[in-house]
Symmetry: C2
Amino acid sequence: MKALKGNIVHTPEFGKLETYEQHYIIEDQGKVVSITPELSSEYQGIEVIDYGDQLIIPSFVDIHLHAPQYGNIGMGLDLPLLPWLKTYTFPEEAKYHKESYAKKMYQQLLRDLYNFGTLRSCVFSSLHADGTIELMNIFDQAGLSAYIGKVNMDRNSNEEYVEVSAKESIADTLKVLDAFSSVSERIKPILTPRFIPTCTDELMIMIGKLAQSRDLAIQTHLNENLDEIEWVKELAPDSTGYLNAYERHGSLIPHRTILAHSIYNKDDELDIMADQQLYVGHCPSSNVNLMSGVAKVKQMIKRGIPVGLGSDIAAGDSLNMLDNMKDSIKASKLLSFYDGDESDVITFDEAFFLATRGGGSFFGNTGSFVPGATFDALIIDDSSYRINKLSLAERLEMLIYRGDDRQIVERYLDGNLLKVPFENK
Amino acid sequence: MKALKGNIVHTPEFGKLETYEQHYIIEDQGKVVSITPELSSEYQGIEVIDYGDQLIIPSFVDIHLHAPQYGNIGMGLDLPLLPWLKTYTFPEEAKYHKESYAKKMYQQLLRDLYNFGTLRSCVFSSLHADGTIELMNIFDQAGLSAYIGKVNMDRNSNEEYVEVSAKESIADTLKVLDAFSSVSERIKPILTPRFIPTCTDELMIMIGKLAQSRDLAIQTHLNENLDEIEWVKELAPDSTGYLNAYERHGSLIPHRTILAHSIYNKDDELDIMADQQLYVGHCPSSNVNLMSGVAKVKQMIKRGIPVGLGSDIAAGDSLNMLDNMKDSIKASKLLSFYDGDESDVITFDEAFFLATRGGGSFFGNTGSFVPGATFDALIIDDSSYRINKLSLAERLEMLIYRGDDRQIVERYLDGNLLKVPFENK
């Protein structure tokens, strides 16, 4: 049991920012006990870490990230989704059959996730079972938390980067699932069919059965791009829509499914997502870079659909969730400017929710400092650029716009202070 | 005379990126002589600085920046232009009557301009003559180059931050103009009427006369926001448009005028701007943050209008021109997405042009490495994130998306290596 003292800021609900100047946050066995202005007699004598005038905020959660695209960040962002995949993405992911390459790149990825304070993420690996197991081990060694899935894809890719059959794809998936018993519980499995265009019906049926029988989480893509949506119509002529192309094979698991992008969802799709509490992985940087469009996030949240923020590396151009928060605000402002609906604008505290509690709830009670939540926190020293006297809310807004990893001085996950991973390259 | 060796990248014309692997760039008396693969016999024996595998690029130019808004970066970006000015901006600028505040803030600004490699800028100061002279001195001490103007504004501001008469405004302007004789020629004067809403006709007439009689450069705002444009119509009922409200008072100086924003320019206004070579200060970050709209930059460039990139601190949220390049690309992609015109998309090399040669030509022959250009350069070490083998163009794109001030290892202005300014706060 310990207490951290400082300026505490979190957002337990969308639209609700709570700030506590010079308060204590009490932790016990990795969970938040309470936030209190004074230590009452029952806590006398516990360890107190005084962070002075620094901020204490929940650590960040990245709900949609392609680990084997990390080497491509900030490159080739001049193409729309489908040609971008074939030209830049599949050839890069194909390199991960080589273990030494995977290890080198994934260690760099984990160092950067640590640097940027993203302590939990939902991650697409490559097609490779061994590379995926390597990624699990590297997450484990770094001490960070993730849902990790080997990608399934048995059609419509480049020749050198596709699975030869649904059966082989599932066999490799089972191999990866077995390996989770040898890593920490912080690292969890998630089924990862890439998207309808690259998965045969046979494969989707097998994935649906696996998800149901083992009660597994699942992550995929939905309604990202207009050309993609047309293609899905051709590939799944018996489906009533893109979401239904997943649903009919049993691969939508209530509360445990992430549907990245979800820009062009129809009303009936949104109803199902609200009803089954399927998560949207909102990826504004990616959606702008590939000119996919801008998701109407606030309308989805009003319907009761859970939404988290995703970097979508490498269609998104930054692993830093502060950048992704900025991008979510900016994209929503241009959406609102062009559609004339002021209620589409995401404010800075709402963006902060998306990057913490929004995606955090996929991991259980994480992403905020409500009692009982996992104690995942970042300590922020913003003294280098802060000159005027500001409120805590203003300091948070300034952090989102001006801050970077240099402001993050310490990181806690499940109550434990983390150390820099893989210091010797 | 000296030669720098490394990987040279610049863009002498919009749409034309030139890359030179392991070349020499030869400098003499502050100017570029040539770029050459080998040192010919005439250059044997000159100093050679070998930057190995690093990039050598032109330094950045910020064509529109409000120095006394620096303390407000990343704050209060939830309002449109006119209420934003009254609520956040005018009260902050008003603080600069105090010399100690101005000195402290301007030193921090100059340190950051240096850090971010923005070695030339076109700067709005506050209303205060003494604060403006302080800013000139601080630019001079830092060794950077700028056009600096005391803001003129004699109506429609907050009570505590407005000039009492046009005459007083001009008297203070003359005081500032006199002070330029005591600073380096790197620091140049520019007349700075804020915009039509805050300048009486009497003041605009006096500024027009002053500009004409002394052949001075001039900077102001144009067609930024729809409410502002309506207001100008009311305030200047005899003008044929917003641009004409400046033109009729003689305050458009061919080749030497910067019109920030210029989002909603009409055809006749664009014709005049092309004809007189009036510069657009394109400020995408600001225009998105305040939901002003997105300027059709490429259409303006096709008409022959010169365009530079501006951070527009503090409506823009970053002084870092890499961020502003990213924002120019992203805003242009959403513009194109919503208006359906693919030719609006700004590519990374075009954004790089805007941030170097685009604004640089306002300073004369600066912003590129063509023979005769001022030798203004940044040395870029991108080894920290670069793993795969990339072309120089790919390395530039990755720098724009992934880089920050940590990649800039050395800075040259007019051929001189710059030192960190104001190291002891």
